[in-house]
């Protein structure tokens, strides 16, 4: 490949497709390189899609994108072994003309979005793995090397959207490696059921959807969450735990998933389903303090590869789409002004992210990953205390309510101590602000 491109985009996930689409639409000579057989074949997501981030690229995406269900109800369950206690929020306001959140089947969505990228005029090559960045004699990045014969391709700018493992950047010496405390390992199964069975079990109609986020003893005291998302004719069922906790406890995440599936509150939802795929994926959950250098001399990094994920709100795809688009817009601005693609000018991409919800939200919760890692009581002790309190209050057994309240207070105090309780409340409030 002797041809030279304006921009090379590494990867065809959310970030890569957003970047390549934005560039191609503006007439840039862009090459997108994907290691999978087709865009999407290597990509895994829960997954929830946030419409705003797609609309910013393709306002009429709802007409052609493969969307599963629009979400009208969010459940948060705190599980102990026998119970769950939780909050549900459901609103008919989410049944709107342009719904806000959708469930998606990631491989199919990426295939569609990459089709739009091709239609916009980008050159897309698949089945090709990018190995490292190429640099000129001044150290400026000016291309990539792929696992093909004569696999060197040149460009003025490289946008790295190569996913959470971010091998291209770290092997080219432009970024630090990820570590086991800042990534979660999630496993997921696709459970197929007829549409009307899903609708009945989840109390929904037509293409309405429900998401359930699960905390508690299903993670065996480790930091993590489970989830059940309703797709059109399947349920995405998964669980993720921070890798350093898995290392300490030597528990396989698939064992946790089996345990969650057999929980008395979960099993009836899955009954009779046919499992058609099993996947595993790392999630970058270190938050703001884990975000690497976002740009340098001739390159920018987006999406999971840039550790842009809000673990508290389960937002990742929107951050990937937005960062990919902003990287492309940065390039376009420099091109239009005739300014060189160097480290100083590409800092504009960092500023764009700082000014957007992407880094604002990560900054807001920057303490949260550290606090959760160091205070396991939030996932070990509190689920049992909360479930115990609820059961004590609800069970009518001749004991007066004041005695019941005293018992609950005593349970909490003997479990954590008064200072522990106040301290935990303080930590959470402080991390939330």
């Amino acid at each position: 490949m002797a041809e030279k491109f304006d921009v090379i985009v590494v990867g065809a996930g959310m970030a890569g497709n957003a970047a390549a689409y934005t560039l191609a639409k503006a007439g840039v000579n862009v090459l997108q390189i994907e290691r999978g057989e087709y865009a999407g074949s290597k990509n895994v997501q829960g997954g929830i899609l946030y419409a705003q981030a797609v609309e910013a690229l393709i306002p009429e995406f709802r007409e052609s994108a493969p969307l599963e269900r629009h979400i009208i109800e969010q459940r948060i369950w705190v599980l102990n072994d026998k119970s769950y206690i939780g909050t549900h929020f459901r609103s008919d306001n989410f049944n709107e003309e342009r719904p806000n959140r959708y469930t998606l089947v990631r491989a199919q969505f990426d295939k569609w979005l990459n089709g739009e990228v091709k239609k916009a005029g980008a050159t897309v090559i698949t089945e090709t793995t990018v190995l490292e960045l190429l640099k000129d004699e001044t150290g400026k990045v000016n291309g990539v090397r792929c696992d093909r014969e004569n696999g060197e391709v040149r460009a003025d700018c490289v946008i790295l959207c190569d996913g959470v493992n971010a091998l291209v950047g770290s092997r080219s010496g432009v970024r630090k490696e990820i570590n086991s405390k800042e990534v979660a390992l999630a496993v997921k199964e696709m459970h197929f059921l007829p549409r009307d069975v899903i609708n009945e079990r989840f109390n929904i109609q037509e293409s309405e959807g429900v998401v359930i986020e699960i905390l508690g003893t299903v993670t065996e005291g480790m930091l993590g969450t489970g989830f059940i998302y309703t797709n059109g004719e399947s349920l995405s069922v998964g669980i993720g735990v921070i890798v350093s906790d898995l290392m300490k406890n030597r528990i396989n995440p698939s064992t946790l998933l089996e345990k969650m599936k057999s929980h008395p509150s979960v099993a009836p939802l899955l009954k009779g389903s046919e499992v058609k795929e099993y996947s595993a994926h790392l999630l970058p959950e270190g938050g703001y303090d884990s975000v690497p250098e976002l740009s340098g001399n001739g390159w920018m990094v987006c999406g999971d590869s840039a550790h842009l994920l809000n673990a508290i709100h389960r937002e990742g795809s929107n951050m990937a789409l937005t960062s990919g688009r902003l990287a492309a817009e940065t390039y376009l601005e420099l091109r239009d002004k005739g300014q060189p693609i160097n480290a100083e000018n590409l800092k504009k991409y960092n500023q764009k992210l700082e000014n957007s919800f992407v880094l604002k939200d990560l900054k807001k919760y920057r303490r949260m990953p550290h606090i959760m890692l160091e205070n396991k009581q939030f996932v070990t002790m509190y689920p049992d205390l909360l479930a115990g309190a609820a059961e004590t209050l609800l069970r009518v057994d001749g004991v007066d309510k004041k005695t019941k309240e005293k018992k609950i207070t005593k349970d909490f105090r003997s479990a954590r101590g008064i200072f522990g309780l106040v301290g935990d409340a303080f930590k959470l409030v402080r991390a939330w602000r």
Binding site: T126, L167, E177, N252, V275, E277, S279
Partner: protein, 98 residues
């Protein structure tokens, strides 16, 4: 008979589609580091059960069922016990749903 953890995982992997590049595993163990603690951790936590600790305390890997999550790469980082690359373009796991 109750199934072992790796048998259960193997059953799950049957649902998946793979294109395996014969004779070119994308992850290999460095022989002289095959007893590393981190590799033994992987025998417990690899979601595709690719790692197995043998009777002599050494860990072996067969990455045919690998889901390409990268966990072993992160866990074994800095130990020199693993060579890790993505499969050649087009090979490895092929997610239909992802």
């Amino acid at each position: 008979m109750t199934q072992t953890q790796s048998q259960k995982i193997e059953e799950k992997l049957y649902q998946n589609r793979y294109r395996v590049e014969e004779g070119k595993p994308h992850i290999t163990i460095v022989p002289e580091k095959a007893t590393a603690q981190e590799l033994k951790m992987m025998a417990a936590i690899c979601p595709a059960a690719c790692y197995e600790e043998t009777e002599n305390g050494k860990v072996e890997i067969i990455p045919d069922g690998c889901l390409e999550c990268g966990t072993c790469r992160v866990v074994c980082q800095g130990t020199g016990s693993l060579t890790w690359n993505y499969p050649s373009g087009g090979y490895g796991i092929l997610f239909k749903f992802g």
